[in-house]
Structures are given as structure tokens and as C-alpha cells.
């Protein structure tokens, strides 16, 4: 793994997608750290051009198999904004319910199978299960509930088929959803236990002066709708996103990195940012639990992202239960619209953080331009910055190269990076065979 002054983690494991880590040293000091994303670019923005706007939710879902709902949500909301469609409260609630399913499924997977093994020096969730069989089994059940909820609304857990521009293709079968109530009642309690469990983990010390950024809504824990709030700068409407967050290319990654104007600074998205900025809009059970487990206000230790994830799972169970108990499928499941030439933008909260979509459409209902900014490409600069901080400190201690590499990988994993979403592309050499 180590070669003179370069430490390589050639394949990051227990993350979605393909990435690597390169750490370069000079005279025993840190020279450079690169989170390399070598996921081959799939060029979604280009391939959407000229297609019917109705294709966007199904196609952009294929950017990421772990958070397809997030892509469906950001795309339909951006397109509805362009079309001037205002969805009904019933459609809005069902979309929140669907998003709850994805948050539960994605967070439970990351917490139990991908991240927790690091706290105990295990290589996988399967290994971890030898030491914590009940906890891992509980985590898998939570994950399954999330999948079941997405499937009950959308037909299947990965790339569900029900989301449409203007609403849903149909109201889901009520009985399928009602059947979940029993599981979700158990799940709410189990999720609280899982959060308490993670509170007992040994957390490495690392604090950073983050700018937390997340969608924020005055009346609810934001998922699909709200303004873009920040812990350092003023809140902006989603429409201004492109003016404030800009992407630039870095040579070592196929994903563009985003920075925040005016200072071109890094910022952090995801569960930690959401809980920090929107903690008082968590449901009471999640808020009380945050206090009970002593989750710090404006927590700036990235390793504690796992606790934020657990709190959000509790929130999602609570909210899902409330919606499931009072299903309201009155009114149309899908609103009609007339195509028009326009631009629409939306930001929703994917499990890993703010996911921005922008579409320009024409009067015939075709996509002229699409722009998709996934959360991991926005977090990448911050992850590298945190790695520099951790490594600089560790190099003053007698840490072995192997341990440096291992701990750096663990830090990367704590952000739950989703590297599959390298939708943008930087440097393409067209080689025609």
C-alpha cells in the first residue's frame, strides 16, 4: 500500500461507487491528499438533452442505485417549477413518505453494514455481526423496512416506477401501506435503540470549522422543499443556488467539485448539516433522543455523522407512521400541465445531502439543458480538507503508514460518499476504436 513517500488506498471499500485515496508526503510532512474519483463518467446531463421531460425521473434515478428516489424528487420538483405546476398537499405528503423510505433504507445500510465496522476494526457488516448479532440483525430489519416502504409506493425498492412529473402514476395500494404500520411501530423503537447504541461508540477526536449547508423549511424537517440555509452565510432561495455554489474541475477526479462563493470555500452537506441546522424541526421523539444521547449542538466532528443519521432514521420512522396512519388519497394523483419554454430548479435532501437539479425545457416538452449537482461532488473538497487536517496531526504522532491509510479511509467513509454519482465529467479523451 505504501511506496516511499506516497500512501495509496487503491480502492475505497464499503462506499458506493469507485474511488481511491492518494496521500503524498514530503520529508515526513503532508504534501497533498487526493480523494480520487475514477468512476467512469456516465454523462447524464448530455444524454438527457432532446428527450421528453417525462423521462427525467426514470433516467436520473439510474445515476445512483442507493438513492434513486432523491434523483426522482429533485428532477420532478425542478420540472414542475419550470412548468408552473403546484402539487397538492396529498401528493406532497406521499412524496415525503417515499423519501422517508429512502432515508431509512440508505441510512440503515450505511450505519450498520458500511460504517459501524470501522469503530470495531471489522472488515464488513458480516464480520461485525459475529460480535453484535442482534444489533446488525436489527439494522438489516430497519433497512428492509425502508425498502418495503419505497416498494409499496413505487413498485420496487431500486428504481421505483411510480414517480411522475406532476405527481404519481397512481395512488399506491392502501392495504400494502397499512400493512407496514405494525413493522414501523416496532421500527421506531428499534431505531431509537440503534441511536443509543451508536452513542456508545469510541469517536476519534476531530473538529472542523464547517460551513453547514442544508435545505431548511420553517414548518418541517426539510426534505423536498425549502430555502438553502447555512451556518455561516445568509439563507438563499433555491433559485439562487447557481449564483452562489459553483463547480470547478480538479485533475484527479471525474466528478466536478463545488465551492461556495464569495470565498470559494468548502462546505459540508448531509445528515450532520441537516441536524445542526434543523434540529428544532426534528420530530419530538428524535429531538428528545438527540438531547438524551448528548448529541452536541452544531456538532462538528465528522465521525459523529453516524449519530445524525440515526436521529434522522428515528425522525423518518415517526413521520412515516404519522402519514401511514392517515393516508389521504383524495384529489388527483397527477396534475396536468402544458409544456412551455422555461427553466426550473430544485434542491431536495438526498440521504447524503443537498441534490440540485436544473432543467431548461422547450415548448414541445423536451429537455434543452440539464444540470445535476450531486451531494458527494459538493462534499469532496471538504473531505479532502478534513483529511489534510487529520493527517497533519497524525504525522506528528508515531502512527504507522498502514494506520494512516486505514484511518484516512475511515474518515472518508464517515461522510457516506456516493461516488456513483459522478454525473459530470471532466476530461474525456474520445478514443474511437
Amino acid at each position: 500500500m505504501t511506496d516511499g513517500e506516497t500512501i495509496n488506498v487503491p480502492i475505497l471499500t464499503r462506499v458506493e461507487g469507485e474511488g481511491a485515496l492518494t496521500i503524498r508526503l514530503k520529508d515526513g510532512q503532508l504534501d497533498d491528499v487526493q480523494l480520487r474519483i475514477y468512476e467512469p463518467p456516465r454523462m447524464f446531463e448530455t444524454l438527457l438533452r432532446g428527450r421528453p421531460l417525462e423521462d427525467a425521473p426514470d433516467i436520473t434515478a439510474r445515476i445512483c442505485g442507493i438513492c434513486p428516489v432523491a434523483y426522482q424528487m429533485s428532477s420532478v420538483h425542478a420540472l414542475e417549477q419550470a412548468l408552473g405546476v403546484a402539487i397538492t398537499p396529498q401528493i406532497r405528503r406521499l412524496r415525503r413518505l417515499l423519501y422517508c423510505g429512502e432515508w431509512i433504507e440508505s441510512h440503515a445500510l450505511h450505519v450498520h453494514l458500511l460504517h459501524t465496522p470501522d469503530f470495531f476494526g471489522e472488515s464488513s457488516g458480516i464480520e461485525l455481526a459475529r460480535r453484535f448479532p442482534d444489533e446488525v440483525r436489527r439494522g438489516l430489519r430497519l433497512k428492509k423496512h425502508g425498502n418495503d416502504l419505497v416498494a409499496a409506493i413505487g413498485g420496487r425498492a431500486i428504481h421505483p416506477v411510480n414517480v411522475a412529473v406532476g405527481g404519481f402514476h397512481r395512488w399506491p395500494p392502501r392495504e400494502e401501506l397499512r400493512k407496514l404500520i405494525h413493522d414501523f411501530e416496532w421500527g421506531l423503537q428499534a431505531a431509537m435503540e440503534a441511536a443509543r447504541w451508536t452513542a456508545s461508540f469510541p469517536y476519534p477526536q476531530l473538529e472542523n470549522d464547517y460551513e453547514f449547508v442544508a435545505v431548511s423549511h420553517p414548518d418541517e424537517y426539510a426534505m423536498n422543499e425549502g430555502d438553502i440555509a447555512s451556518s455561516k452565510l445568509s439563507t438563499i432561495p433555491v433559485d439562487q443556488y447557481p449564483m452562489v455554489f459553483v463547480e470547478h474541475q480538479v485533475p484527479h477526479s471525474t466528478a466536478l467539485q463545488a465551492v461556495r462563493l464569495p470565498a470559494r470555500s468548502n462546505y459540508l452537506l448531509g445528515p450532520l448539516s441537516r441536524v445542526n441546522l434543523n434540529r428544532n424541526r426534528l420530530r419530538p421523539e428524535a429531538r428528545q433522543l438527540a438531547d438524551e444521547i448528548g448529541f452536541p449542538a452544531m456538532c462538528s466532528n465528522p465521525y459523529r455523522g453516524i449519530q445524525a443519521r440515526c436521529l434522522e432514521v428515528v425522525h423518518a420512522y415517526g413521520e412515516a407512521l404519522e402519514i401511514l396512519r392517515e393516508l389521504d388519497f383524495s384529489g388527483p394523483h397527477r396534475l396536468p400541465y402544458q409544456a412551455r419554454a422555461a427553466v426550473g430548479r430544485a434542491a431536495t435532501e438526498a440521504p447524503r445531502g443537498l441534490l440540485f437539479h436544473e432543467y431548461e425545457i422547450d415548448a414541445a416538452g423536451k429537455i434543452v439543458q440539464a444540470r445535476i449537482v450531486p451531494p458527494t461532488s459538493q462534499n469532496q473538497g471538504q473531505i479532502e480538507c478534513d483529511l489534510r487536517k487529520q493527517l497533519t496531526w497524525q504525522l506528528t504522532t508515531a502512527t504507522t503508514r498502514e494506520a494512516l491509510a486505514r484511518q484516512a479511509e475511515q474518515l472518508v467513509r464517515s461522510y457516506d460518499p456516493c461516488i456513483s454519482c459522478a454525473t459530470h465529467f471532466l476530461k474525456i479523451q474520445w478514443k474511437n476504436s
Binding site: 471499500t13 411522475a164 474520445w430
Partner: protein, 263 residues
């Protein structure tokens, strides 16, 4: 019993959805782990053992020069190679670049020097190496993957149905969306695997499991045209996740050759 087969799960250009479906099959996963040894599965475990492998499970398509090489190396050290999903079996949604005006696409690319070598195509694994079994779907049906793995582990051939989505609708008693709603539906020429999902959601099948063997597109296209669907709408329907699968590709091309044909 002989030692457990060594299984590697490898990813190329893809969304990870197909391999994730394996982790989603919680109930069967433990049984599968009893029969098989996952020695390389980067998404699930940090321990990555080198080959040889008894079974290589491959997700994703080939889009870079490096990956052309990597799939050959994987094939060379694997006894059986199974491809999973539309990306691996048909090039996936990213294969749409085949129809892009490559000059036009290049103009959207940043002026900086190249660091990775993307190909102008996204091709299925079988275009590069011998594939022992292809499992279709975007995403695949996890139960089908488990059936394939268990079958290979026990030395028998997998039992995967190969009829059309349309037949599943008839079996389920789903009202035909073409007849009742006049929606264009690829069900009659699409391979089963999803249990005919989309028609139960009031929408036509968009072919995510790819063409059914022996599918006959022309009569279906003629029916679409009779119902008033324009080529403009039908071509994108045929060109999504399995766009380069021959039946869908040819059907799309025939529509473009006769864009105003209204039989």
C-alpha cells in the same frame, strides 16, 4: 462437501443498483453466504482477495480503455462469468452516447487535459469477453441472481423464465394499458423479471429488462402508430436502458427511417 465457490462482485460503469439488490435480499442473503464465499465485494467488505475466482459477478458497462483491460484480466482468472443488469448486458443508459453527435458532446467537455480515457461507446461485457450467463434488468431481480448463483454452486443450469412482460400481465389479470388507456407499452417485446410492474402502475413498460428472445417489434410498432403515437415519442421509449440491444435498436431505427408512416 467441497469448498465453497469463491465469488467476486466487480463493478464497471453503473449505478451500483444491481449489486445493491443483493444486499437487499436480506432473507436469502444469509443462506447464500452459507453456500458461497464472497471474497471480493468492495461495496460490502474491506477484505479484497485476489483471483482466481469460481464465479465473477459483473455489473456495469465498458466505457474506458482501462476497463477494457480490467474485464479481460477478470475473465482470465474466473471460471464462470455472470453479467448482471442492463449496463453489463446492453451498455446501459450511458450507451446513449452512441447516438450523440460526438462533436457536439465534445464541445460540452472542459478544455483541460485528459486524465481518464473515456471511450466514445458504452458496450456490454459480452462485446469484450466470453460471458457464461446474462441476467437482465435495470435493476436485476435479486431473486433471479440468487437462483443463478445457487445453480452454479450446485453445478446445474439456472432456471430463469424467458417469456414476455405481456404474458405476466395476462397472468396477473392486469388490465392492458394499451387497450384501456392507449399507452405505448413495450411489454409484448420485453423480457419478464419484474412481474409486469409498470402496467400495474398505469403506465406502459419501458423495457428495462431488455428485449425478450424472439420478440417481434414491427407489429407492435404498427399498433403504436395506429393508436397515434409519433415516432418522436416512440424512439426515446426504445432508447433508454437497453438502447443498444439489437431488437430495440433496430425498432428505433425503423421508426426513424419511416418517421411519418401511419399505417
Amino acid at each position: 462437501m467441497a469448498r465453497k465457490p469463491r465469488v467476486a462482485v466487480m463493478k464497471f460503469a453503473s449505478c451500483d443498483g444491481c449489486q445493491l439488490s443483493l444486499l437487499d435480499a436480506e432473507d436469502e442473503l444469509l443462506a447464500v453466504c452459507d453456500r458461497l464465499d464472497f471474497v471480493y465485494f468492495a461495496e460490502a467488505s474491506s477484505v479484497l482477495q485476489p483471483g482466481p475466482y469460481d464465479i465473477a459477478v459483473v455489473e456495469g458497462s465498458i466505457t474506458t480503455v482501462e476497463d477494457e483491460q480490467r474485464i479481460r484480466e477478470l475473465r482470465a482468472c474466473s471460471t464462470r462469468l455472470v453479467t448482471i443488469g442492463a449496463c453489463a448486458t446492453a451498455g446501459g443508459i450511458q450507451a446513449l452516447r452512441a447516438w450523440g453527435d460526438s462533436q457536439e458532446w465534445i464541445r460540452t467537455i472542459y478544455p483541460r487535459p485528459e486524465y481518464i480515457h473515456a471511450l466514445a461507446t458504452s458496450t456490454p461485457i459480452a462485446a469484450h469477453v466470453l460471458v457464461d450467463y446474462e441476467l437482465h434488468g435495470c435493476p436485476i431481480n435479486a431473486h433471479q441472481l440468487i437462483e443463478v448463483l445457487i445453480a452454479f454452486a450446485s453445478g446445474r443450469s439456472p432456471n430463469i423464465p424467458a417469456h414476455s412482460v405481456c404474458l405476466d400481465c395476462k397472468r396477473r389479470g392486469t388490465v392492458c394499458v394499451m387497450v384501456a388507456r392507449g399507452q405505448a407499452c413495450l411489454g409484448p417485446i420485453t423480457r419478464t423479471g419484474c412481474g409486469a410492474l409498470c402496467p400495474t402502475y398505469n403506465r406502459g413498460c419501458y423495457g428495462c429488462f431488455g428485449p425478450v428472445d424472439g420478440g417481434n417489434a414491427p407489429p407492435l410498432l404498427a399498433e403504436f402508430r395506429r393508436q397515434g403515437h409519433a415516432a418522436e415519442q416512440l424512439v426515446p421509449l426504445l432508447r433508454n436502458f437497453n438502447a443498444t440491444a439489437p431488437l430495440f435498436r433496430e425498432a428505433g431505427e425503423s421508426l426513424l427511417d419511416n418517421p411519418t408512416d401511419d399505417r
